[in-house]
Amino acid sequence: MTTQVERKKETVQEETVSSVRALVLRALADCARKRGAGDAYVLELLRQGDGEALGYFRYAVAREAGAFAAQQDPTIQDVYVVEAGSDPDEQPRPTSFLTVIVVVREVTAATRSLWTWISDRVTAEYKALLDAPQVAQMGSLLDVHLVTETEVQQRSGMAVLVSSLYTPALPVWQRGG
């Protein structure tokens, strides 16, 4: 019986891991479509550190990750991205992280754990995809911040970016959107 449960758990984990791999590949395809090129060419651009390609790819990853997380967790309402730095000409590098703001009804241990897992898996898939020494050393591709709807209304902490006047976050996934 225990073995059966463990096997089932393993199967679910494998399926979930392959879902994350699929979302990263969908992001690559989205980036390729926007660049009007093939996946292989865009992958080479990412490896070379092409800022525009990296930008599109990372947004697509955040959008896909948001949709994936929201399927598992109904408390997730919106997902936003923020580019670090105030210089509009600053382009992302292969090792740059992307700040992701996840608006939830309430922050629970389950939601935290889900996003930690997604972030780790996405980073692992990204490292495997780019297969470059500099990327292998980086921390996480996604710098995830969970904020509540109340914090958004109160404009406190990172939640201020959701309704920021000067550096507004970009919505990449919205429930019902």
């Binding site: 660049r35 947004y59 509009p88 090792t95 404009r155 201020v160 970009l170 990449v172």
Partner: protein
Amino acid sequence: MEREADLLDTARANVDRAAHRLGLDEGLLEVLQNPEREITVYVPLVRADGRVTVFPGHRVQHSSVRGPCKGGIRYHPDVTLEETRALAALMTWKCAVVNIPYGGGKGGIRCDPTAMTPWELEELTRKFTRMIMPVIGPHKDIPAPDVNTSSLTMAWIMDSAEEVAGEPVPGIVTGKPVGLWGSLGREEATSRGLVVVVQELMRACGIQPREATVAVQGFGKVGGIAARLLAEAGYRVVAVSDVSAGIFRAEGLDIREVSAYVRDNPCHLLAGYAGVGVEPISNQDLLELDVTVLIPAALEHQIREENAGRVRARFVVEGANGPTTTAADRILEGKGVLVVPDILANAGGVVVSYFEWVQNIQALFWDAEEVNARLEATMKRALGEVLEAGRSWGVDLRTAAYMLALTRVMEAMHARGLLPRARALAMMGGSGTH
């Protein structure tokens, strides 16, 4: 909606308070609160997949009485006319405070740039430019980069404008690439302006650099460069923070080493930095450090009603836009903390934009030293004038900055004969002329 309401409330509250202190009546206030002109265009775009999408775009010109309108163009799904109006007004006051010959403008297109191809974005920019061409120009209204737009966007605007004009018009936008009529010194302009403000403030208060301690919230393009320049000038930068971590060392951080660490580590963040005697500090605790100067250079609304009472810095110099809420402002004022408002402290960027325009219309190129020297002179003069205005009017520096800005705009309106004569004279007699 939240954003608009908040923006309008804060912007109007600052202007209202200044107008009240100047004794302006409702009619004049209404003139100052409303834009001169606004244009909304609907830009049709054939998408990469053959669909046609229409994007609403705006350009608002709040005031041109002191010179051509100046302000950025942003691309964001939440762009609205209401928000663009308020941001245009802020540009009028910012340009007037530092006394550069510009009025205020702002523009934007409601679009999601992450969902568009590079070619769609370029075509959208070019079409938008052609549609607003009747109201922009080097002597009418000069856009610049803003949220989700860059030097590349400005290059497209300039190129499209030149196609329409049939001649070079480099002064039609600022924030262009350096290789295409852009200015040297733009990248560090906001930080350099901020540092000049801190240095002048310390000098005015008789505080030597080595006696002053500084905490900087935000170690990005503004805060990071400002921390480096202040450390080079002999200030003891005791704490810095970014989104990943905060670090503190009472004897002062080795900012050169910290900057090198951030530059070289794969994530380009402070997290993991471990210098001798360096302790971790939270973003919140950094704001409450007992330092001479606190520079909030990260996000809006960091100093709020809940924590303003615990701020122990003698001076707050706002590197970010809107880091102090209106309620917190009153608390800091009650505690005797001198706040140098964002409208002045982080105006270095728009000052160097002005220099870019000056170089463009004269077809001259200044070296970085000349740009920096002129920036220093402009910021020094502006801080001196705001300090003097605060003293003579007996108000906090934010109110003084707005009063000074309003007065300058009113003076220009009066000189142009746009104000009732008796009222204008009374206003200027009552306030003193700056």
